[in-house]
């Protein structure tokens, strides 16, 4: 598999997994950060938004 490949996976009943070469801005007007993998909350329940904290299971 291509090392540079960026993949977004919509996990059924779970978060949005983004892996690869990512530049993320967590808040509007915030600083861009480089990351290799993130899990973003899709249900709106996470206490550590924008990231998933597993709250969708509760």
């Amino acid at each position: 598999m291509d090392r540079n490949k960026t993949v977004i996976e919509v996990i059924d009943g779970g978060p949005l997994k983004i892996s690869g070469s990512i530049c993320i801005v967590e808040k509007q007007g915030g600083k861009p950060e480089d990351k290799r993998e993130v899990y973003l909350c899709r249900c709106g329940k996470s206490a550590s938004k924008p990231y998933c904290d597993g709250s969708h299971n509760s």
Binding site: K5, V10, L16, C23
Partner: protein
């Protein structure tokens, strides 16, 4: 892709001006008439060819193309480098409306990083090229902007449909 075009796509046209090219995709036209009401000098359905790139300054052509509510009319800069800087305000630039045309001209951008913007009380906007895995299917998305739902209320999951505006966006925004 390439030669695998459908019959309707054979009617697609492009009109090259000095600095910009306008693309015409008749199958997408919903006859909103914004083009010829705004700029009949350029867009005249009773003339052949119906688009005259010399008919008005190209800034006016860009403005008018951006008014088209569908991908029937789109545009790009002829100088390819300029296209990467075009912002969302230009709604009908090819990279927003017809990414299949844009990816042909920017093939080398594949390895560049994906920009992920988390909008306050809104969706997450992803800009760039990526493979999307959803419901067991994998799709290659090239040079696109896609908004994914973060509030859980969208009816067109996993994408944002604006529904977050009708609810109180769930609290706990701070990372």
């Amino acid at each position: 892709m390439g030669d695998n075009r459908k019959i309707t796509e054979k009617r697609n046209r492009s009109y090259r001006g000095r600095e910009i090219t306008v693309y015409w995709k008749p199958s997408a036209c919903i006859h909103a008439s914004s083009c010829y009401r705004e700029l009949i000098e350029v867009f005249n359905p009773s003339r052949r060819p119906w688009v005259d790139m010399e008919g008005a300054p190209e800034e006016r052509i860009i403005e008018t193309v951006n008014l088209c509510p569908t991908e029937a009319l789109t545009w790009k800069w002829n100088e390819e480098e300029r296209n990467s800087d075009v912002d969302r305000a230009h709604t009908n630039h090819i990279k927003w409306r017809r990414p299949e045309l844009y990816s042909q001209s920017g093939e080398d951008e594949d390895a560049s990083s994906l920009t992920v913007r988390v909008l306050d009380e809104g969706p997450v906007m992803v800009e760039g090229s990526f493979s999307l895995i959803c419901g067991g299917k994998s799709t290659i998305m090239k040079n696109t902007i896609t908004s994914f739902c973060r509030c859980g209320q969208s009816k067109s999951q996993p994408y944002c449909d604006g529904e977050h505006r009708n609810i109180r966006f769930p609290e706990g925004e701070t990372p």
